[in-house]
């Protein structure tokens, strides 16, 4: 076909040729000939091509049939040829005898060292490698360390030199020349070894490895082909070779080897999982490799022989005694312990491995920390600590044995329960706070919220303020489905402190002993205790399976909370009092905490949080600003601060800022549903409700058991007119046992569907529920519902009943809301006096910006201007916060309006609207424009509201009762165009808002 060189057939014609070829192939051979001859008749050019292709096809045979798999030898051609010839002299010193083989990064020769008059092995580094600075720096460092190792079981490194070849300089390493075979070859010939045969070899390997580790080197590439067996009489002497990145001796000269820097990483076959995953090589990864070598020695096979190297990340190896039935329990356990997927569970050093093979006693399975250096200095005291460790480990070893292979690792996003750390020293009572602050940084797990713990305690008929001890904690965890419990105790002695931490895995009922992992951290004094706490937290986090490679999530205690024990104590007490319901005491204690450490950012934030929840905005914002200033100096990334910051920005109307923070939050804690949840609501406020809905669904996906995103989704569905979806979401809420939330949203859905009977049922259910917050809301919802349907009297009654209820339960915030609602209704029906009283009543109960604004507005509208001015003066000025600014402008506008200063009123209202959230109704602006005669503007803002009743009705208790109907009435009165579809729809809907008997 291509024989006709100029015959380029492309594009559509080529496609046609392909089709014809396919058709021809589909034919059976006799048909094919016929097909072709027909084709020759019709389109001879095509026929030529097709025919040529068919011929090729037949001749091709197996050509390209299988994917390329290349023989090693083939790739060997990728190597450079041998660099040096026999008798060549390097560095004026080494005379090449012969090439022994090719190592990873160069070649290995036998050479004669003319200075020392000895035969040595000479390793040359390839040029590309030699010229890489980073590489050579590491190489040199390793060499320096390796040279210090003089041990019978380690191949000696003599010299490191550079040899000039023309303009290139290559690195040359001289080492002990070893004659013998590798362990790999030996095993190949022998098959497998008995434990008795293997033990002396194992001990030598261990000794060598210990020597290497002691010099500060990680071998990184321990395997049978790196272990030389040098004959020594009737026995073997093992020599460790090729450690670090010093290169390798080849096992077989004819065998090809590899390219360049891959040697740095070692062969996948013998790599520990964490090495494969993260490239981290530690003593533990050498231990893993050692385990593999031992495995191979006694079973004759590799544990992951059939599968790829990466399987070891997920799977456990087949226990060696299954493959070698005469293998003792010690060997089996030892090998399996070396092969633990989590580095912390393996032996902490090579010597322990050897001991485990010899001794009868089972090894403790707790990762025991090496003694801190400072305590080693005092030998006698050191002994005491060692004894304690041993006692603890012995005791736990017995338990540990039974649950040999369980792991405390939990999947990302799990909730853990942190109990109070028991301590007798009251000045250290803040340690739990500090620990929680540390653990809260984790992106891997979440700490169970205090509120939820309190709920469960109530179910257990315990008092919420009770300290959470270990056994209570286990039960709480079990009831809540929490798999991990972290507990600890702090004891002091003459020598300092001992922080004992325990992590328990709860699987069965609390009656069963839980699986325990324990560790002990010591500190000489209080200052050091904070560091120990940090280590303890790090230990817990890595135990739970966290990778711990993000320094942003690894801040020391000083930054996450404070370095002052006093401050921590006050903070801790404050939390306790708050949990008991005593907010005043909590505030006082926080002030004391801040006296102890004014830069305790978290305390400022907590203070701000509580103050704002009590609507003491002025002081609250102040505290927040202080915290913000502190935070700017250091980037606090703990989850709680991010949450509070974001919420604060949202509360104060800085939606863009809130988005930023939530974005950061989401990046740092990808499993947490809250940032998506918050973002969703912020987007809705910004008028981007579709996006908000998507975020909300994302939140649901991240936390399928959490109800807030589902509730928020339901509301968004209503707003976006996805009534069916809303119904589904509401149903899901009920399934999640949150029928109160479901009922409160259902009222809105029912109103949109004009199913008022169902709405009333929902309201009745809410009113009789056990949760006082929802009962309180039910009154407001009912009042709004009734007023939309035109029954002012009943609405007033509902609000009055609601106010009494709130008074009886001490809900001043909600009570104030009800008075505002009443004031609104009174205004609408023209009862100025009652409106005035209600508004003032509301103000005495709550003086936050929102209430001030609403009360002040109504006072202005009913003509009580001096009172309105008084209200205005209650608003903090120049806060720089959008919500407060809006309130100021809006109220000023109302006052100007009442004074008939229309121009000024419009100006103020426009400022208010600019500071307002995009999706909030701008009825206040509309009213003002109406007064100024700008009919068009009025209609626009009214229409926005009229067209979207769902926006109002999805949260009936957040708006004035009957708001939608009122605005619709206004709109109807003003809209000259009776054909306006929005008008028609609204009027139709309004007509439907009646209670049929």
């Amino acid at each position: 076909m291509a024989a006709r060189g100029d015959d380029k057939i492309v594009g559509e014609q080529w496609e046609r040729v392909k089709e014809l070829f396919e058709a021809a192939l589909d034919c059976s051979p006799p048909e094919r000939a016929e097909f072709l001859s027909r084709l020759y008749g019709e389109a001879p050019a095509f026929a030529e091509h097709v025919s040529a292709l068919l011929t090729s096809h037949e001749q091709a045979g197996d050509f390209l049939r299988q994917p390329l798999s290349f023989a090693a030898n083939f790739l060997d051609d990728l190597e450079d040829p041998q660099r040096f010839a026999p008798d060549e002299v390097l560095c004026n010193r080494f005379k090449i005898v012969r090439l022994i083989g090719k190592g990873g990064m160069g070649e290995v020769y036998e050479a004669f060292d003319q200075e020392l008059e000895e035969r040595v092995a000479l390793k040359t580094l390839r040029f590309e490698v030699s010229s890489n600075e980073i590489f050579t720096a590491r190489f040199r460092r390793e060499i320096q360390l390796a040279r210090k190792v003089t041990h019978p079981n380690v191949c000696r490194i003599y010299e490191s030199l550079r040899h000039q070849v023309g303009s290139e300089a290559i690195s040359v390493l001289s080492m002990e020349l070893l004659q013998g075979q590798t362990l790999g070859e030996y095993l190949k010939s022998k098959g497998r070894l008995t434990a008795d045969e293997a033990l002396p070899l194992a001990r030598q390997i261990v000794d060598g490895l210990c020597a290497v580790h002691a010099a500060g080197i990680i071998h990184r590439d321990l395997k049978p082909s790196n272990l030389m067996l040098v004959p020594n009489g009737s026995q073997f002497q093992i020599k460790l070779t090729d450690f670090g990145i010093a290169g390798r001796l080849p096992e077989n000269p004819a065998e090809p080897t590899l390219t360049q820097a891959s040697k740095m990483l070692g062969t996948p076959d013998y790599m520990a999982p964490e090495q494969l995953e993260q490239g981290r090589a530690t003593i533990q990864s050498d231990i893993y490799a050692l385990g593999l070598v031992l495995y191979e020695m006694v079973t004759g096979t590799k544990p992951f022989a059939k599968t790829g190297a990466w399987k070891r990340l997920f799977e456990d190896p087949c226990p060696p005694h299954k493959l070698a039935s005469d293998l003792s329990g010690e060997w089996n356990k030892t090998i399996l312990c070396c092969l633990e997927r989590t580095p912390e569970y393996r032996f902490s050093n090579a010597q322990a491995v050897a001991q485990s093979l010899i001794e009868d006693a089972p090894r403790a399975l707790i990762p025991i920390k090496p003694l801190p250096v400072r305590l080693k200095a005092t030998a006698r005291k050191g002994v005491w600590f060692i004894l304690t460790f041993l006692l603890v480990s012995a005791a736990l070893a017995i338990m540990g044995l039974r649950y040999f292979r369980q792991s405390p690792q939990v999947p990302p996003g799990t909730t853990v329960l942190v109990t109070d750390i028991a301590t007798e020293d009251p000045t250290l009572s803040g340690i739990t706070v500090a620990l929680k602050g540390e653990l809260a940084q984790s992106a891997h797990f979440e700490i169970e919220e205090d509120g939820k713990i309190v709920e469960v305690l109530k179910q257990m008929h315990r008092r919420p303020g009770d300290a959470l001890d270990a056994s209570t904690a286990r039960e709480v965890a079990w009831r809540s489905g929490i798999p991990l419990v972290v507990s600890g105790s702090l004891t002091s002695s003459g020598h300092g402190y001992l922080l004992s931490m325990t992590v328990e895995k709860i699987k069965y009922s609390p009656l069963f002993p839980a699986l325990k992992w324990k560790n002990v951290f010591s500190a000489a004094n209080k200052n050091d205790l904070l560091d120990s706490l940090h280590e303890a937290a790090t230990w817990v986090r890595s135990l739970a399976g966290e990778a711990l490679n993000d320094p942003k999530l690894d801040l020391p205690v000083k930054d996450t909370t404070t370095a002052s024990w006093q401050a921590l104590q006050f903070y801790s007490d404050s939390e306790k009092r708050y949990a008991q319901g005593d907010a005043t005491a909590a505030l006082r204690l926080l002030d004391q905490a801040l006296e102890a450490d004014p830069s305790f950012a978290k305390a400022h934030m907590r203070l701000a949080d509580i103050l704002i929840s009590r609507k003491q905005y002025g002081k609250g914002y102040e505290e927040w600003s202080k915290a913000a200033a502190l935070v700017k100096a250091r980037t606090l990334t703990d989850r709680e601060s991010l949450r509070i910051r974001g919420q604060f920005l949202e509360d104060t109307g800085d939606y863009e800022g809130a988005q930023d923070i939530y974005g950061k939050y989401e990046t740092l804690y990808p499993q947490d549903y809250l940032p998506s949840f918050y973002r969703g609501s912020v987007l809705d406020s910004m008028g981007r409700s579709e996006e908000g809905l998507r975020e909300m669904k994302e939140a649901e996906r991240k936390a399928p058991d959490a109800y807030p995103p589902v509730a928020a989704e339901a509301r968004l569905d209503l707003v976006l007119d996805k009534l069916h979806d809303a119904e589904q979401a509401i149903r899901r809420l009920r399934q999640m046992q949150h029928s109160d939330a479901a009922d409160s949203i259902e009222v809105g859905l029912d109103m949109l569907r004009e199913d008022f009977a169902s709405a009333i049922k929902a309201l009745d259910r809410l009113q009789s529920t056990s949760h006082p917050d929802y009962v309180s809301a039910s009154y407001s919802l009912r009042a709004a519902f009734l007023r939309e349907l035109g029954d002012d009297k009943a609405a007033i009654k509902a609000l009055m009943d609601g106010a009494s209820f709130d008074r009886s339960t001490g809900h001043s915030f909600s009570e104030s809301d009800k008075w505002i609602a009443l004031a609104y209704i009174y205004w609408k029906i023209g009862d100025a006096a009652h409106c005035h009283d209600a508004a003032l009543q509301a103000l005495t109960l709550e003086n936050g910006p929102l209430h001030v604004l609403q009360a002040g507005t109504l006072l202005a509208r009913t003509g009580f201007l001096s009172d309105a001015h008084k209200a205005l003066s209650m608003l903090p000025s120049n806060t720089g916060f959008k919500t407060v600014d809006r309130a100021s402008h809006q109220l000023e506008g109302e006052i100007f309006l009442a004074q008939h200063k229309t121009a000024e009123a419009v100006r103020e209202m426009r400022e208010a609207a600019a500071a307002d959230c995009a999706s909030c109704p701008k009825e206040y602006l509309a009213r003002t424009l109406e007064a100024s005669g700008d009919k068009a503007g009025v209609l626009h803002y009214y229409r926005e509201i009229v067209e979207a009743p769902a926006r109002i009705w999805q949260a009936l208790d957040y708006q004035y009762p009957g708001f939608w109907s009122d605005v619709t009435a206004n709109y109807s009165g003003l809209q000259p165009n009776t054909k306006d579809p929005a008008l028609a729809n609204a009027q139709a809907r309004k007509a439907g808002l009646t209670l049929r008997p």
């Binding site: 070829f21 050509f63 390329l68 290349f70 010839a85 990873g104 090809p256 891959s262 996948p268 790829g308």
Partner: protein, 189 residues
């Protein structure tokens, strides 16, 4: 330099959403890794000493893409890139080999004859010829050339190729047959 695992994931995402620049960056990141692994695979003590490109690319994938980000879409894209890179690596070295031979560098150690890697591809010269032929094919049927690359160098199955390229399996099969025939003819000219 070792690529950060998140980087590769991000680039894969960029690639999927159509950012062409991501491709070049990914290539350079993955290239280094593939070469490393290619080499280390050779040290495996397998009696047949053969190497499957898919295994190699799989391993590169595992090492380069974070656990939590591994999904089949990423993997398919990655394999696709791997195939291309494998081809590049092998052909590059084949060409270098040829240059060396022509330059007459001293070879003091003679190696055993090559084992058959694939029928029709017996030597570096053959590999270069295939590459040239593929380049020619690419000039008028890019998809076919890509299919060959994915199948022969990457070891991807037809379903995987179909998904990656967004064409039906039937089209893949057809294009493959045609390409094979065409390449054979081209190489036996």
């Amino acid at each position: 330099m070792e690529p950060h695992t998140g980087e590769v994931t991000r680039l894969l995402c960029d690639l999927r959403s159509g950012k062409k620049e991501a491709e070049a960056q990914l290539f350079s990141l993955v290239y280094g890794e593939l070469r490393r692994i290619a080499g280390s695979y050779l040290r495996r003590e397998r009696p047949d000493h053969t190497l499957q490109p898919t295994a190699l690319v799989n391993e590169a994938y595992l090492r380069l893409v974070e656990q939590t980000e591994q999904n089949w879409e990423n993997r398919a894209h990655f394999l696709g890139i791997g195939a291309h890179l494998m081809r590049q690596i092998l052909v590059d070295h084949a060409r270098k080999r040829q240059a060396d031979k022509r330059g007459g560098k001293k070879q003091l150690v003679t190696l055993d004859g090559l084992e058959v890697a694939a029928p029709g591809i017996q030597s570096p010269e053959d590999l270069i010829a295939l590459d040239n032929a593929l380049l020619k094919l690419e000039s008028f049927d890019h998809r076919q050339s890509r299919i060959v690359e994915l199948r022969f160098f990457g070891g991807l199955r037809e379903e995987e190729i179909s998904h990656l390229l967004g064409v039906s399996v039937r089209t893949i099969k057809r294009d493959w047959s045609v390409a094979r025939a065409w390449l054979h003819a081209e190489m036996t000219k």
